[in-house]
Amino acid sequence: MTDTTPLMQLTGVSKSFGAVKALISADLTLEAGSIHALVGENGAGKSTLVKIIGGLYHRDDGEFTLEGQSVDFHNTKEAKEAGIAVIYQEPTLFPDLTVAENIFVGRQPYTRFGGLDRAKMRRETLELTRRLGVPIDPEREARGLSIADQQVVEIAKSISVGAKVIIMDEPTAALSGVEVDRLMGIARQLRDEGRGLIFISHRFDEVFSLCDTITVMRDGTYIATNKAAEVTEDAIIRQMVGRSVENLFPKQETTIGEPVLEVKNLTSAGVFDDVSFTVRSGEIVAFAGLVGAGRSEIARAVFGVDRYDSGSVSIGGKAVPPKNPMAAMRLGMGFVPEDRRKQGLAMAAGVQQNITLAIRENLAKFGFITSSLEEPAARTWASRLQVKTHALDTEASMLSGGNQQKVVLGKWLATQPKFLIVDEPTRGIDVGTKSEVHRLLSELAGTGVALLMISSELPEVLGMADRVLVVREGRITAELSREQATPENVMYAATHATEEGEAAA
């Protein structure tokens, strides 16, 4: 391979789903022996681009060459055979098969008697995982492997098929610090072997320490490619957002009142430990920290979806019984969960059905509920939140991400909560709707609602929160006021051990 021919090149690639243009014009040039970061906000088209490269989607238009040859994948198999491997955030292994079989599935070696050569598979698996520095028992079932180990299995698989291009789609999102280091070590090793890596991440520290080239995408379009050594974080953020960050967060000043939610010594063995905090009326408290730090788990336990071992939760002085979301709702709690598609909505149900689900008991008259009782409530909230939909019986799955999130918000606002948890409220939402959601949350706090916001986007945390609680490995490691909460302080507390975190605060 000469220097003039890149390992992989995409130019002007576009892709639409029905009316939705997911990708307008994407460019990407990957050199061999390089780690190339692909960054952009959620919804910028990174995942679509990855799926096109991996053969899951077929591009509508544009050039796609691999080592100078034009390629055209119709399924994942063709992409794989051409030397492209995609490692997803949550790997897709076969839990009932052994690690060795997962690596060799579909191309298991045969002995000369026509059976599987298990000895060979075992040997090669062990050798592969050793080479990656993470030996894994080849004979164990994939079920129960940690996400980090599952990724190692996926990487071993891609090496064993001789992948030239390895794409890692937010691989570090669910990993602990040690595991991230390990993964980055593996990535460098793969680069040194002459492979080309595409690394998708929202964490700039990782991007800058690992990658040599950074390509930025925004709204389905290629923006710029930078040498990592020649560009600053701020410049990248400007390219990503296309405007300055401040405008995004129209935070209103509010008067903060009495404590609404009080959580004391909440503990769930192995998940979170001795968590205490309060949220006051009119206040927005943010849970910051890395994905997997236990933020959502705490919130789920507070709301009662998950159990906890000890501790107490109260709202307005009234104790909230554990493991009983219905009781929590009656006391005025609401929860906009992080996974909109699975937890927040019934995707196959209409807008009205979704909005009125949480208030079905309040709407009922003499124990009975009819569509005509539900319709006014649904219409009120759908129009108040400006949900863009054809009709109230339009399936939630037909709406855009932003409108879906508005439906979820409408569903919870309809319950007129005193305390609302919003978990990653703007994940996967276009920029316009994002600021609408922010304005909405801010207004809500203005009316005296206590808000707990979980967010992995630091600017969102800093822009919205009156107070920031940093969660690290299941504990609250720092409490920062709006003034104290700088990116450095929050990141430091999120990544460093407790004592230091408190020192930083």
Partner: protein
């Protein structure tokens, strides 16, 4: 993913749900299609099959179909939550056996009946606990209890049958009601159907049932007591199947181990035929009932037409497969039409 729909926002009139006239919407519903099919069948039967137009035809049609029509009511709710209960036929047999044995042992009919119903309820509790508390798939659990309680019924009664029930009870049960061509059980079917219909379609509990079927996780996050709801439904199913067992025994004045054998399959067939999705989350009680009636009517017509009384199985099977093929094709067409429609609005 930006802006899928570019419809103008927030004018209250935009949210009128009724794009098409009422009669067209009503007509296109799966249950309407089935009811239409039943009516057509009855007309054709009346015109072409000798003796069809007699009241006795309807009388026996309802009598034959009653157990399935009653048992499918709670099972419909179970299927809408995404679970399944294949044990109802065996619960019927089990309840029938206990009822018969208790009666034989000198227990008054009323008390023996209570024993039968409660026994059914307890089997329902067992199913429900295994599914919700232990967390086993309902398909596996109810296949197991299907074998278990049929086995116990057969084991308890052996090859004997208990037939010495007071003769006036079966006579009362099979007699026409107030001179109409319907037996007494028709009242029970209607009352239970209204009760379950209200529960499913007009209560917060029913809203929860649909929510669980659409997405159990979303239901839990929305304050639906998921496991409690599922448990209640299994217990209801057990109680209803138990009561049906007592009724069935008295109607035929016969408690044998094979009472209700294979009914679970007829129940599921009727429900699926009635347009209830086996994946859960979609369907109506009216549809399920109509499915049950259609099978009953088909069976009666063929029987009277002299094609033989054994044709029930081929009719049931063919109807079931036919209905899923049609539903599958209809779903395909509507998906295509919808994606076209959304493309059009976006272009506008």
């Amino acid at each position: 993913m930006t802006a899928a729909t570019t419809t103008a926002p927030t004018d209250a009139t935009r949210y009128l749900r009724h794009g098409r006239p009422l009669w067209r919407r009503a007509l296109l519903r799966p249950e309407s299609v089935i009811i239409l099919a039943i009516v057509l069948l009855l007309i054709v039967g009346t015109l072409t099959v000798p003796f069809f137009a007699q009241p006795y035809t309807y009388q026996t049609m309802i009598l034959n179909a009653a157990p399935v029509l009653i048992m499918l009511l709670p099972v419909t709710l179970i299927i809408i939550t995404g679970d399944i209960d294949l044990s109802v036929g065996s619960i019927l047999g089990f309840s029938s056996a206990l009822f018969g044995l208790a009666f034989q042992a000198g227990v008054p009919v009323g008390l023996a009946a209570v024993i039968g119903v409660v026994a059914g309820g307890l089997v329902g509790v067992l199913n429900g606990v295994l599914v919700t508390v232990v967390g086993l798939p309902s398909l596996a659990v109810t296949i197991g209890t299907l074998a278990l309680f049929r086995g116990i019924a057969v084991g308890l009664l052996g090859t004997t049958s208990i037939t010495d029930f007071p003769a006036e009870i079966p006579r009362f049960l099979t007699a026409p009601l107030l001179g109409l061509p319907f037996p007494v059980v028709t009242v029970a079917i209607i009352v239970l159907a209204i009760a379950f219909g209200l529960l499913l379609h007009f209560t917060p509990f029913g809203r929860g049932v649909f929510a669980i079927g659409l997405s159990p996780e979303n239901a839990a996050f929305s304050g639906v007591p998921v496991n409690r709801t599922r448990l209640i439904l299994f217990v209801l199913s057990g109680l209803v199947a138990g009561a049906t067992g007592v009724y069935f025994t008295l109607q035929y004045s016969n408690a044998i181990g094979t009472n209700g054998f294979g009914f679970e399959l007829q129940v599921v067939t009727a429900i699926v035929l009635g347009g209830v999705s086996i994946w859960g989350g979609k369907g109506t009680l009216l549809g399920a009932l109509a499915g049950g009636l259609l099978i009953a009517a088909l069976n009666k017509t063929l029987q009277l037409a002299g094609i033989g009384s054994d044709t029930i199985s081929i009719v049931t099977g063919a109807a079931l497969i036919f209905s899923v093929v049609v539903a599958s094709i209809a779903g395909f067409i509507s998906r295509r039409r919808r994606s076209k429609a959304s493309a059009v609005t976006a272009a506008a």
